[in-house]
Symmetry: C2
Subunit: 324 residues, 2 copies
């Protein structure tokens, strides 16, 4: 058993040791760049934590954990191209530092690198891990596809939205935990419960992200609020507002979404007021808590002493208590 | 043992049966589209042929062969985005039918699909095959990167050019043959010789492609000549011309490369005349034959009766005899 911080330390210590070629420099420098940008490294840390529930020596889980982190950063590199995002973790994105072709091709190399690292897992389990990896990777692409399709749709339902964030965000959290549990030698039912714990926590996390974008304290949250509103992002809020707003509210909302020129603060203020009128904050908090509670009941079903699981309870609690 | 046509028949019969999801349609329709565009299917056919040298039942090699074909088409989908190519096999490219984001994301899904298909190989050998697959895939990305870098360079050497086409084109031919030989249970020295046969044949093939673009009969070749010349592509010819042209010729060549407006036929005629003055056709034919001969001596080292290897001798011969 280990703490979340110990797990993070192992990841941070090993991420710089990932082995890939130096040449051609223009292909591999962007991989180094994005891996060195930092990020919370939550996903690989969860792999180690899940493994540590079942055995003290987590060294077999280090490479698979790193494979997930490399894969995660590959998705960021390609998503940033597709979303035309200029900034990632406070720094220019790969396609801004270099160009789009470099971001596409280095991303491809990074996906291949992730497979190569995952393939270093212990031989008895590598086949199952690669299956999980491929299945999850395919789902994440499906999630990104749905997210892009939602951009041009006004009739996205809450159910569709939840399926999109399940694919785009939650399955990787579940799969990272499952990877660690599998390497730790957990029994099938535990592996499955930890996966579902991750899925539900991932969903709760994403809804909280949507909440924080509107109601978060910019100082504590670390970025200005209203970003999702300004770019008309199909969040839990906008999707539900489009479904539930009636008559004048609906016309007002559609007008605001279509307006080409507007005052940023006014748009944020007016749309937030609409969300408030529709009581979407309460609805989102309720949905988030329900998903969080579902994740906790999955964790309760994991057949281990509570003392062992404490670290995951704590992790889930902290995630959900991110301050407004 | 089987003929090349029998091998192709098996591939064509099975390529439509590749299993992938239907939803989201916008993610998977481009995969279906590019796989149904056709193509020569030479790579997967070589995998089956190499396997058939060692055992009559090639069924274990079908999935790995298809994995190579899916991977090959993934590279085409992303390369077409990077090269801004509008036409592939006479039809609009994926990013023209849909858009660039779709081509990027469907391509990613296709790379993952290729891994999933390769992972269906017999369990005793799947680890080695995945290693070969990842190593080769990484090399092919390196080749594409070098090819893109060459676009803005005027000092590419013949040696660098050969290394680029080795990575971009030849290693996949070698790896397809190696995959089949491994599944067939060939001994190490045969596996290695067949790989080298493929590498050298792939290099010879690419140089012949460069030759055909200039000296090919448009009717027999199936496309207009001079395409590489018009887009200043760094072929075997242009690379050598830039290295060897002197004084007036060099100035003339650099001027032609920089000219923004010109008559197509005149540019083709003038640059071909320069290639002729520099005797590059003879040099290219000599290089191609030397690589072809190298491939044949590798094939000779494969420890099988000549009658078994006849199909590969014939394949190599036909490749090299593509008419001008």
């Amino acid at each position: 058993m280990m703490t979340f911080e110990q797990s993070l330390d192992i990841i941070c210590e090993n991420i710089g040791k990932i082995d890939y070629p130096q040449h051609p420099d223009l292909l591999y420098a962007p991989i180094r760049y994005i891996l060195e940008l930092g990020g919370k490294r939550v996903r690989p840390a969860l792999t180690l934590l899940a493994c540590s529930l079942y055995k003290d020596n987590v060294s077999d889980a280090i490479e698979p954990a790193l494979a997930w982190e490399v894969f995660h950063n590959f998705t960021l590199m390609h998503d940033d191209v597709m979303d035309q995002a200029d900034i990632r973790r406070g720094k220019p994105t790969v396609h801004k530092v270099w160009n789009k072709n470099t971001a596409i091709l280095s991303g491809d190399s990074m996906l291949i690198l992730a497979y190569r690292i995952m393939a270093k897992a212990p031989s008895g389990i590598v086949k199952s891990l690669l299956e999980l990896f491929s299945k999850t990777a395919a789902e994440i692409c499906e999630g990104q596809q749905l997210d892009m399709e939602f951009e041009t749709r006004l009739d996205v339902t809450e159910k569709e939205y939840l399926e999109m964030i399940r694919l785009k965000t939650a399955v990787m959290i579940g799969a990272c935990l499952k990877t660690g549990a599998m390497i730790g030698g957990a029994k099938m039912s535990d592996i499955s419960s930890l996966y579902e714990f991750g899925i539900n926590l991932g969903l709760a996390f994403q809804i909280q992200d949507d909440l924080l974008d509107i109601y978060g304290d910019p100082v504590i949250f670390g970025k200005a609020t209203g970003g999702d509103i300004l770019c008309n992002k199909k969040t839990y809020f906008l999707v539900n507002a489009l479904q539930r707003a009636e008559e004048e509210d609906k016309i007002f909302l559609l007008n605001r979404l279509e307006a080409k020129s507007y005052d940023d603060n006014e748009k944020i203020r007016e749309i937030t007021a609409l969300y408030n009128r529709l009581q979407l904050r309460e609805q989102a908090e309720k949905k988030m808590m329900s998903l969080y509670n579902k994740s906790i009941s999955e964790l309760e079903m994991v057949d281990l002493p509570e003392s062992k699981k404490a670290v995951l309870y704590e992790f889930a609690g902290q995630l959900i208590e991110r301050k407004y």
